[in-house]
């Protein structure tokens, strides 16, 4: 079993989606995350082991990304491979046989249409074993509140790329805390700093996606 987890983790880390995929060139022709996950279920392995392989692989690529040893393209391909494997887990998530660690509601703040950074965090957090509810871009405070209502106990993540929109996070956090004082809110985005996060009342900040997973893991531990 640990062999399988390691094999799948490697496919995820390297972004090997499936057998036909030409990326990465050195794994051409080999089984990818898609085939490995399918075979695992056929062989009767616990569905949970697929999730373990994904988490391990995403953790490795996420750490490399934090250390500037991997960049956006590598992270995107890894996420694509992870999704290919996770697709096989859908029925088990639905039946409750495989459980996620928690739920992150994520969105780019009102007025801001940038989604690359937000999407990267969503992918890495999903790869960290969490369910992600992605509200998209230009998300109003009302939308955040409605999502918390629909997913009680969730953690909220907000993103901003523009210096002109990051300030909108403050009012959104205030409204969330007023109605749901126990809800944890994380913020991120190019112009956001720890200092800014502290000042606007956010509960956490990370300069990279892996840091967000670390905060979430600590919260659900």
């Amino acid at each position: 079993m640990s062999d399988f987890v390691e094999q799948l983790a490697l496919c995820v880390e390297r972004g090997k989606v499936n057998k036909e995929s030409l990326y990465p060139p050195d794994l051409k022709g080999q089984d990818g995350a898609d085939e490995l996950a399918k075979q695992a279920l056929e062989r009767g392995l616990q569905p949970d082991t697929i999730l373990k392989g994904c988490i391990l692989g995403m953790d490795r690529i996420g750490s490399k990304f934090s250390q500037n040893k991997a960049f956006v393209p590598e992270l995107l391909m890894a996420a694509k491979a992870m999704t290919a494997a996770m697709d096989h887990l859908k029925p088990f998530f639905q039946s409750g046989e495989v459980k996620r660690k928690g739920t992150l509601i994520i969105g780019t703040i009102a007025g801001d249409l940038h989604d690359i950074g937000k999407n990267l965090v969503a992918m890495v957090v999903e790869g960290g074993g969490f369910e992600v509810v992605d509200l998209g871009t230009d998300v109003s405070t009302e939308k955040f509140l409605a999502a918390i209502e629909a997913h009680p106990g969730s953690i909220v993540g907000m993103s901003a790329l523009l210096t002109t929109t990051m300030v909108n996070m403050e009012s959104a956090i205030r409204a969330i805390k007023e109605k749901y004082p126990d809800t944890m809110v994380l913020v991120g985005g190019a112009p956001v700093t720890q200092q800014f996060a502290d000042r606007i009342g956010a509960d956490g900040y990370s300069p990279d996606p892996q840091g967000a997973v670390a905060i979430l893991n600590k919260k659900v531990a």
Binding site: F71, D112, D115, L162, T164, M166, F196
Partner: protein
Amino acid sequence: MTFLAKVKSGKVLISDGAWGTFLHEKGLQPGECPELWNVTRPDDVYDIAKSYIDAGADMIETNSFGGSRFKLEHYGLADRAAELNEAAAAISKKAAGDACNVLGSIGPTGKILIMGDITEDEIYDAFKIQAMALAQGGADAIVVETMTAIDEAVLAIRAAKENTPLPVICTFTFEKTIEGDYKTMMGVSPEMMASAVLPAGADVIGANCGNGMERMIDIITVLRRIAPGTPLLVHANAGAPIVQKGKTLFPEKPQDMFKLTPRLIEAGANIIGGCCGTTPAHIAAIARAVKLYEKDK
């Protein structure tokens, strides 16, 4: 004299400063389409262009950074790409007059090619519409800027070169890595950038945005070494933004840029201007520094 002839004359030229932060100061609301102002508030857009010309810029950009159909579609304006870009160039042309030049700005589409959610042809066509409209409106060159991915930048350069007679400038946005070298968020180093965009047809290359002028000196030093004969352009941010009392501030003052300009010229920059957070006062300071530098030479 053509734009390229001016650039190659050996004189250091001055470009303009920020547009986005300037537009917000003039009342553009978050969530509002900046390019729409080219037809709804042309006088305000003209004021920005003119203020940089008055500050001593030899060239100004156009209010068309997000003018590709992929950016405009967020506002339901995708079908107005040609109209909005042409208007952008016409406004800047009016401000530049005959003595100064207009650089038609093309920014990233926000799409990532390797994810496969968009084709190369679709991106090429979007850039083609934009470049042709900017040329039509009177641009003297196209500036493909704030790029981070080689594939997208090369498509933009090719779309401009193959469909307009204009020279093309291409600038990437690099960040300093933990290792101390410079890469874009897509992992592209200045070396990788130069070896891809020069064969694609870029006439001028360089860097924009980023974290201030000091770091631009490092980047230009690398680009000068690997592209010894290519004119280099810098549009530097006024440092990394900081937020105070709900307002965003850029820490580099005109005086800071004035002091750093000679080192940027020494490193090999041929055209110097600003990006986010820079104002006409910054551009005037850079122009003064260039004048002093050339006098002392």
